[in-house]
Symmetry: D2
Subunit: 284 residues, 4 copies
């Protein structure tokens, strides 16, 4: 049997006693820490930590942990999140026509690798509807044009609300989200098919081929208003040679894309990623 845990992600200005203060809060209430990791960014004097403890034997009821910790967090000017391992986040996957990232995420969710529910798939094309049906997931086809983008984004936001979505995963969704959308729903992970910042923008494989690089890559990052500029969660690369055509790059890249995206989503779902500035700390 898996014992449920609570996880705190905390960032605040560095000062002596932070580790002790947070550990004491958990210990004083009878919690057993099973994972504690900490990082100090000396260039910004920022303290960042992830601390996870078993709820069994913890004296505070779940409902009051937040209030109790807020009393500690306030004087140290902390940003913090509290997560419980048994409250499963809800994912929406957005796609266009390519199925490899979608299928990979769905397979991993079924295999127990992704601690999440996936009640919603959104696409600007109808092509992948049969996959949604096969996995018994609601599929919404919202085609996007220059003219209707604004209203379609409104509809998308409604759907995210309706389905109580916690995280949007852009699994090869070949559309740019408006700044306004990202402000209203900031929890979005995207997969970009290059080792950013190389070949940001469109057609990275074609451009990689033309430049004659010997390595291609993929990047999973949080979406911000600046295209392809959000905080990077995970990257991976593979070697290529002169024998590889653009078509080969695309094929090899698919393996990178699904691997990198799945890793990033898993790390996020396990509350292992802390964003600060345009960077991430990944407590893996």
């Amino acid at each position: 049997m898996i014992i449920p845990t609570a996880t705190l992600l905390v960032s605040c200005p560095d000062r002596p006693g932070l580790v002790a203060k947070i550990a004491n809060f958990i210990y004083a209430n009878g919690g057993n820490i099973i994972h504690a990791d900490q990082h100090t960014d000396l260039t910004t004097n920022l303290f960042l930590t992830r601390i996870e403890w078993q709820l069994e034997g913890f004296n505070l009821p779940r409902e009051v942990i937040s209030t109790a910790f807020a009393a500690i967090a306030k004087p140290i000017e902390a940003h913090w999140q509290l997560h419980f391992s048994d409250s499963t986040p809800r994912l929406a996957i957005w796609v266009t026509k390519q199925n490899h990232c979608l299928l990979d995420l769905l397979w991993r969710q079924k295999a127990g690798e992704l601690p999440a529910q996936i009640p919603l798939i959104i696409s600007n094309h109808p092509n992948l509807q049969h996959i949604a049906q096969q996995f018994n997931i609601d599929f919404h086809h919202l085609s996007i044009t220059k003219e209707n983008k604004f209203e379609q984004e409104a509809r998308q936001l409604e759907l995210l609300k309706e389905y109580k979505i916690d995280l949007v995963v852009l699994a090869k969704y070949m559309q740019i989200l408006s700044e306004d959308f990202v402000v209203q729903f900031p929890n979005i992970i995207n997969i970009h098919h290059s080792f950013l910042p190389a070949f940001a923008g469109a057609n990275p494989y074609q451009r990689a081929y033309e430049r004659g690089v010997k390595i291609i890559g993929a990047t999973a990052h949080y979406v911000t208003k600046d295209l392809d500029e959000g905080p990077i969660i995970e990257q991976e690369v593979t070697h290529i040679s002169h024998r590889d055509t653009v078509k080969d790059l695309i094929r090899k890249g698919k393996d990178l894309e699904r691997l990198v995206l799945a890793r990033a989503v898993r790390l996020h779902l396990q509350n292992r990623v802390l964003v600060y500035g345009n960077r991430t700390v990944v407590f893996s």
Copy 2:
């Protein structure tokens, strides 16, 4: 200016409150933690931690930190080590005829990558004496035969004592140390030219070639009485193809060997490696 730090490496049976207990010890005495990492091995119920704090502003004089921490360590049945970042360990490098690992370690030490002094090189052959001279390091040639092994090991132990050596690095020392030697001087890192446990023992590149593997590797591990069976610190591999002859494997392997050995020695010198059973935790 680099502020000196103290580092505690602690392992003990897991129980609630360990993180708080150790963090409190440091905080109560005015220390600022700059690195804290922790691991719980649930299969053996063992708690392992590395905690590093700045000595500036720490209220306890260095001489009494050990005594003070012992009072905490005893009731929790902890094994522990205390290290100061400004007390530089002393290394002896042992070699036979190949120079690549030796030169690499010496270059890195000069470049500031290895926080250690290297006052002593021991070899069972005279071939690399000129390198010792060039780097102004004492070189002792102790040839080994079946007959003289016992007395030569006694002489080696004397030298380690005389030069106040903290760590022996076997940088392609092609001799097996006796069980007795290892018991008397247990701080030894070896580089093995295969991705152990594959091709343990002699001639790994020849055997890798004969088996037709597509990947070769190197392994840095602590030396124990069981040959090639000690706790692994670091491993790295590289792809090979049918075009690679045994000579090519040896050439490519040299790059792996020097990289892996240097990484392992650096991790050890930064007190990032904790051994338990036949395994290591590497707090990197």
Copy 3:
């Protein structure tokens, strides 16, 4: 439009003039070579080559190419195979209960990455029958016991004949094939969940964990009568840390297994693999 090609895989004792002889055969008959690669194993004095040319404009009808080339092959004592790119090989995939390699191969076949038909899935358990149905592939459940192994293998051979199977892929088929079976049907690729020769045999992830390695891997190889000893086609590895439990190794290993198996099957289907002795040349 893709122009069909013919591919010759040839191995013979090395002597001057082999490249010229084979290239002339193709040129004299009007063929345009689009890929020619060659390897000489100097330890065994063996010449190995892969040569692929466009059939368009080639003067010899397909039916007579074999006869014509035999006249060249005989005096040079060559072993050789002739393949046409538009005659699609037929695969049987054998599984037990795990679905990741099976799904991956089926997805790649649908995506056009594997130039093969897959008319048959055989399993010693009924668990994955629904996947076969979903992909519209015949599924045969043949449970194996000590007592019935002999007759079930006879039945399996019948099925391979009936379905005109060219290649069997053991996609996590957790049974050992008898020597007799392998002699009668030698075209078998297996995926082993370790970087062979490390952890040959059962439970490699458990044993990798116990040994405390820092790297795990997977190996695709041809099956021979000696278990886990056949010629290696492809290997891949990934780094692990002390944080990874056996369950994590299994999860990470799945990604390696499906990647390595898919690469090996693709290389085989493109006629890029030549076996000699217990080794392979991979003309990639």
Copy 4:
């Protein structure tokens, strides 16, 4: 004993019969081919090949091979080079203040990994003169300012002529060569400390840190008049984490730089690199 070989690197418009034509030339004159590799770039319809044969038993004297092959090359409009394995190219290494790439190349040359002579080191700073002395290599200190750049480049060209240099290796030479210089001496390999095209230009490690990438790299390329835009020979990368400061990136990058540069120089010296357009074919 190593038998000397001749190597032809040929590129020309693709047409049927090219492999046969070149192989016949060698066979007809009694040569034994030990390496033949070929690539057809279908996007540009270009045929590129590398063919190496033993000179022992070859009927043409060395002096006439060029003339003889020219008769074949002309009608097929080929660009081609002829190299003999026993005529050792002469390298000049250019440095500024960092020694890691220089030492690595010198060590490899001594270890027999680089088939070249290294008679000349040029630097715009005097710092590394002692290394030149130690290896008994002429060292020329030519400081560069905006004002004297033109005349210093003239002096550099004189030195390359005087020392009969075949290849210049920029081993962390932190100066940009003028377009005019590159036109007059086009055989130059540079190491750039990023996975180009990411972070082209100055301070790549600082910029990689600021962007928060999870992978850093190094790139060896031929120098052209367009800074950091020349044909790429080799690239390699390594993973980093939030724990790595800019200083750590620089340290880890050094290992990449020396590995990638050494590989590229070795490939070039073995005549395995063919440039076409802004791309390379590497026959490895």
